[in-house]
Amino acid sequence: MSAPTVTVTREQAEDFLYQEAMLLDEWHLDAWLALFEEGGTFEVPTTDYQGWDRTGGGFFVLDDWDLLKARVKRLKSRKAHAENPHSRTHRMVTNVRVIRGKDGIELKANFLINRFRDHTHHTYVGRYHHDVALNEDGELKFLHRRAYLEHELLEPGARLSFIL
């Protein structure tokens, strides 16, 4: 029996990603984690990314579900020195597209994140490619969340201690 066809509109996808951006900018990390299906993953490949998978090469972030939970727990701690005090972030999510592949639904979007800390400012530019699913309640959830940077390298001070 084939799976029932699910439809996600661009409006739904936008609402989902905008809501996520707000949760991250306001540092509501538990609520952010709740946007994932249990067992979800989060990846940020290195800036010289050539399309490898989780066995093929370098990443900045390669979280499985346990690490993702550990990351959130860490960032909520006052002992996450790199984010204490927190960075101020300001996210723009645009060019949202819903792609229905044979493996499910993929949300693609562009992002631009401005980050302020230590009286300096960094801009992160990239693309989101997220595999998502609709749960029983009709809510979108991340299965695999991926952020790809367009940068050639992370310029001085531009570490990824916050959620990209």
Binding site: V44, P45, T46, T47, D48, Y49, Q50, W52, R54, T55, G56, G57, G58, F59, F60, V61, L62, D63, D64, D66, L67, A70, R71, K73, R74, S77, K79, A80, H81, A82, E83, D118, E152, L153, L154, E155, P156, G157, A158, R159, L160, S161, L164
Partner: protein, 448 residues
């Protein structure tokens, strides 16, 4: 702070920027060492210009005509395997008028053509064509003198490629000394060999390069700085300890921490977070290693983690997994870092995924630990402005006295002491000497 200084017992370094007092058992570094443009310039000339420098690993350019461009000591270079299979490094600068010849980051090319006047060099550096060559007198002699300029020295140990801009450096193995065997121990971890993976973590840090070296050689910071990471390890069933871990001065500026209490080691020492499949793999791997290398060597390699610093720009982390990290000073307060995963070639996908995940969880600007290290050295770089020019004695000196009493007694230095930092600074001081125009605030005259 009160300080009695007995005549003759204070040894200030050649340049006056370090001060060690074997009477009071203190060791201090003047903060100008991290801030001063003159010091930075002198380092470029005297250290970067005259040492062996880590360029890259042979496996980054496995095929004929593979190349990478890379900057060392501020000099743009081409790291290339020629059509003849030989690994070389050239200044990435046209012998004609100086243009950067190769403007791609990496690739495979039989020829490099300078776009300015279209001189063409083959991947072994030979000038193969120059347009309008009838305008040159003694063409053959002229052409022969216009090949890409190679670095003065290049040598390879276990696939690790080092170069020097000084033709008179001692042989590489002599320079590496005891550090050579530590790299060999890493290379011997797989019967089929080790390789670097694509996907370099490239990031800049707003801190002096020496702070990155100090941080790697400093076990003292591990618990407080990495509190959240240690917490994660504990939750996965791993007991973290600082006991029985030591620091070694390997000579020539190289140093090493040998750690037994911080890490499980993939394929070497199992811990619960690695899962059951990895347990069986580790057992089989250790057995095979003992057969191949002998029990004693296999145990030496497998039982302890190592953090190795090879003077002046290579940090090698043989921890849960293996990472090569290269430092490139850009300015007194800015360092570029590049980091590679170093892996056994014969690993299956499941083990490889575990390895990449495990190492990425710790190291790199997006890991659960390295960002706090970066925060630490960036915070030092900002904080040391506070005491700049302060004439009140000790204020403008950073303290690295921890464990000096043990050192004076000739005891083994612990990883949680600061002995590896002291040996680094002593070598730095020797290499640098006096820098004109740089004066440290006086070591004496402490303010009570």
């Amino acid at each position: 702070m009160t300080q009695t200084i007995a005549e003759g017992l204070v040894e200030t370094g050649h340049g006056g920027l370090i001060a060690q007092d074997w009477n009071a058992l203190t060791f201090r570094v003047n903060r100008e060492a991290y801030r001063s443009a003159e010091v930075f310039q002198a380092e470029r000339e005297r250290i970067w210009g005259h040492s062996w420098l880590y360029l890259g690993h042979e496996t980054e350019i496995p095929k004929k005509n593979d190349y990478k461009v890379r900057t060392l000591g501020g000099k743009p270079l081409i790291f290339v395997r020629g059509g003849d299979g030989v690994v070389r490094a050239f200044l990435n600068s046209c012998p004609h008028r100086g243009t950067v010849v190769c403007r791609d980051e990496s690739g495979n090319a039989r020829n490099f053509q300078c776009f300015y006047h279209a001189w063409t060099f083959n991947s072994s550096g030979k000038l193969s064509a120059l347009p309008g060559d009838d305008a040159y007198a003694e063409l053959d002699r002229f052409k022969g003198s216009m090949d890409l300029r190679p670095v003065a020295k290049l040598d390879i140990h276990e696939g690790f490629v080092f170069v020097s801009f000084d033709p008179d450096v001692p042989p590489l193995l002599e320079h590496l000394g005891e550090a050579a065997d530590v790299l060999s121990m890493a290379a011997e971890q797989s019967a089929t060999g080790m390789t670097t993976l694509p996907g370099i973590q490239r990031y800049g840090v707003k801190g002096n390069w020496k702070l990155a070296v100090e941080n790697a050689m400093d076990g003292y910071h591990f618990s407080p700085t990495h509190n959240t990471f240690v917490g994660y390890l504990r939750e996965t069933g791993f007991a973290v300890t600082d006991d029985d871990q030591y620091a070694y001065d390997l000579g020539n500026g190289h140093s090493m921490l040998v750690l037994t209490g911080h890490n499980g080691r993939l394929g070497m020492l199992w811990e619960p977070r690695f899962g059951e499949a990895e347990k069986a793999r580790t057992e089989a791997n250790r057995k095979a290693m003992a057969q191949r290398l002998g029990q004693e060597r296999a145990d030496t390699i497998g039982d302890a983690s190592r953090i190795l610093f090879v003077w002046p720009n290579l940090l090698f982390f043989d921890l849960e997994a293996l990472t090569i990290r290269q430092l490139e000073p850009v300015a007194p307060g800015r360092t570029d870092v590049r980091a590679w995963q170093y892996v056994p070639t014969d690993e299956d996908d499941e083990a490889r995924a575990m390895r990449l995940k495990t190492m990425t969880s710790f190291v790199g600007p997006g890991g659960l630990a390295t960002p706090d290290d970066i925060e630490a050295y960036e915070a030092v770089q900002r904080g040391i402005e506070a005491s700049k020019g302060d004439s009140r004695g000790f204020n403008d000196w950073s303290d690295m006295s921890r464990g000096m009493e043990r050192e004076a007694k000739g005891e083994k230095g612990r990883s949680i002491d600061e002995g590896a930092m002291r040996s680094f600074w002593r070598h730095w001081d020797q290499s640098l000497g006096k820098v004109p125009g740089v004066t440290a605030t006086s070591y004496e005259g402490g303010n009570e």
